[in-house]
């Protein structure tokens, strides 16, 4: 292959689930979702609509100031994440020395207990969005009576076509209530 035919690529430095990833040349126009699937074999992040609408492809970007945000990987290029640290659905559970899951995060556990998802296609996006919400509420607690609206505002863009959202809502509410410091008095 001649130099002209090479796909323009640039080295990518990214941390995923607390681990700095091997630096390699990544095509400039590769979407992050494809990087996760094809370069890192992290297939838990889902390709849904491909146009940033359904949120199944959502991951968490962790900022240095301790805040976090959601980011849609089907419409965001891999190189957007240059130098950044992200979490995917594979990064939430505690694992033992053998890499087996030892315990789930509060959000994951509540999703299971409430039968929140059925086909599971949207679940990775919901896990990440709910986690971002719980962590935000730990930093900025809300009044108990504002919780329902807060959950709706945080998750309403995420689409689920199986379970009708009620079970997701109850699970997120219980995950928030089970996490100390998320609710303020009055």
């Amino acid at each position: 292959m001649s130099e002209r035919d090479r796909i323009p690529s640039t080295p990518l430095h990214v941390t995923i689930n607390g681990r700095r990833q091997p630096v390699e040349d990544v095509p400039n126009e590769l979407m992050m979702l494809d990087y996760l699937h094809e370069y890192r074999n992290l297939t838990g992040t889902r390709y849904g609509c491909g146009i940033g609408l359904c949120r199944a492809c959502t991951v968490i970007v962790d900022h240095e100031d301790g805040t976090s945000e959601e980011r849609r990987t089907c419409i965001t290029g891999a190189h957007f994440f240059e130098g950044k640290s992200i979490r995917t659905v594979e990064g939430h559970a505690e694992r033992d020395e053998d890499g087996e899951i030892a315990s789930l995060s509060e959000v994951q556990q509540q999703f299971l207990e409430h039968f929140s998802f059925q086909c599971s296609y949207c679940a990775p996006g919901f896990v990440n969005a709910a986690t971002v919400l719980v962590e935000r509420l730990q930093r900025e607690p809300v009044a108990r009576e504002a919780l329902e609206d807060t959950i709706s505002d945080a998750l309403e863009d995420h689409l689920c076509r199986c379970t009708g959202y009620v079970r997701y809502y109850r699970a997120v509410r219980d995950a928030v209530l089970a996490t100390p410091g998320t609710i303020k008095e009055g």
Binding site: N28, E29, M31, I51, L53, I75, T76, G77, H79
Partner: protein
């Protein structure tokens, strides 16, 4: 108590009878009025988002304060229930209410001045045929001295046209019909013609473009349209469908499509196109060759943030994201609308029966003015036929004004 209720019932019945005897009974005229109300885009201001049609409440931002569209259903207290056809005609074409109150010129009575008496009567018949909505519209809140309505008499003396058109025939020929639809009913100039310091349109600069609400209402002269690549068939399609190869309607133009142009007959759309582009439209200017490459900050910003929907080749996705090459927003001389769209995004919209287009996210939280300038420069050079640079100060100026 029962007597009061009975009286009230009789009153309602009496009102109903009176209404039935009104010109509203003339079905053809009502239907013609309905069409004219759409062509005149009355709903854009007189219907609030999600509200009952024509019951008022839509805020209109002006440089002098916020004016609210009024209730124009035939309610006796809050609407136009006690208007005669003469009262209606005077309000429509002169901006003067039956009690002598002057309307603010946010009501485009200077454009509607040319509405024929026959069309005014058809509009009147249509509005009187609606169910009255007993709802007070939000009161207008202007800064002094504009809060003093008497100042409007001076304004009218300076800027409003004289003499209404009392003729009955508004559609002598296609050319006249087109001008009537564009300038009078459609009041395109209300946004697309620049205004002077007193908020009056500068008739010497008809449809030469203006900035309104932070966005550019582009110039619609034949040369300006052709310079951005518009053909007559594309322009007709744009008005009818809200979309065309040059892009889709957004910002304040989308409601114009939604409430007005999508309902217009094909012959009226063609007449409007002809009025805009002229009888002998100038040749559309071909898109100049790309002058930016796939290297550098602008290109990478595009790939990282835009290409997921618009494609790395810019071709977009049908029903999802507009194609970039030759897009009218990229071809505009000013980068204003492009910068605004990148910064604020575009709401989800429906176009016609079968098209729903998702929202475009805004990048206000993701890109600073430097990055928006780099992206806008690259886009304009790649697919807008420009070779200039959008500088950071210009972007700051545009997004600063939008976040006020």
């Amino acid at each position: 108590m029962r007597r009061v209720l009975l009286m009230a019932g009789l009153l309602v019945a009496a009102t109903g009878v009176a209404r039935a005897a009104d010109p509203g009974a003339d079905t053809d005229r009502v239907e013609r009025g309905r069409y004219l109300a759409r062509a005149a885009d009355c709903a854009a201001c007189h219907t609030s988002e999600g509200g009952t049609p024509y019951a008022g409440g839509h805020p209109i931002e002006t440089p002098f304060g916020t004016v609210y569209g009024t209730n124009i259903t035939p309610d006796d207290d809050y609407g136009i229930g006690d208007y005669s056809a003469d009262d209606f005609h005077r309000a429509l074409t002169e901006g003067e209410l039956p009690d002598g109150t002057q309307l603010y010129p946010a009501m485009p009575y200077t454009d509607y001045h040319g509405i024929s008496r026959a069309d005014s009567d058809a509009l009147y018949a249509y509005f009187m045929s609606l169910d009255p909505v007993h709802q007070q519209s939000t009161q207008t809140d202007l800064a002094w001295p504009f809060s003093m309505r008497w100042t409007l008499n001076a304004w009218n003396w300076l800027f409003a046209p004289d003499d209404s058109d009392d003729s009955d025939d508004s559609d002598d020929s296609t050319a006249d019909r087109g001008r009537y639809l564009v300038d009078t009913l459609g009041h395109c100039g209300a946004c697309h013609t620049p205004r002077n310091a007193f908020g009056a349109v500068e008739s010497d600069h008809r449809l030469e473009g203006a900035v309104i609400g932070g966005y550019e209402a582009p110039a619609l002269t034949p040369d300006a349209l052709a310079g951005r690549g518009w053909t007559a068939s594309d322009l007709t399609r744009f008005l009818r469908d809200g979309r065309s190869p040059q892009g889709s309607m957004y910002s304040e133009m989308y409601p114009v499509f939604h409430h007005s142009t999508r309902y217009l007959r094909e012959d009226d759309l063609s007449a409007m196109t002809r009025a805009l582009l002229g009888d002998d439209p100038p040749e559309p200017t071909p898109l100049a060759a790309k002058s930016s490459t796939m290297d550098g900050q602008g290109a990478q910003l595009y790939l990282d943030n835009c290409a997921g929907c618009h494609g790395s080749d810019g071709r977009g996705v049908a029903q999802v994201a507009s194609a970039m090459p030759g897009n009218t927003t990229l071809r505009l001389d000013s980068p204003r609308n492009l910068v605004k769209v990148i910064h604020e995004g575009i709401e989800a919209r429906s176009f016609g029966t079968f098209e729903r287009v998702q929202a475009m996210p805004g990048f206000a939280d993701d890109m600073d003015a430097d990055q928006i300038a780099a992206l806008a420069t690259w886009l304009r050079q790649r697919w807008g036929g420009h070779d200039d640079t959008v500088d950071t100060a210009a972007v700051e100026d545009i997004i600063g004004a939008s976040s006020d």
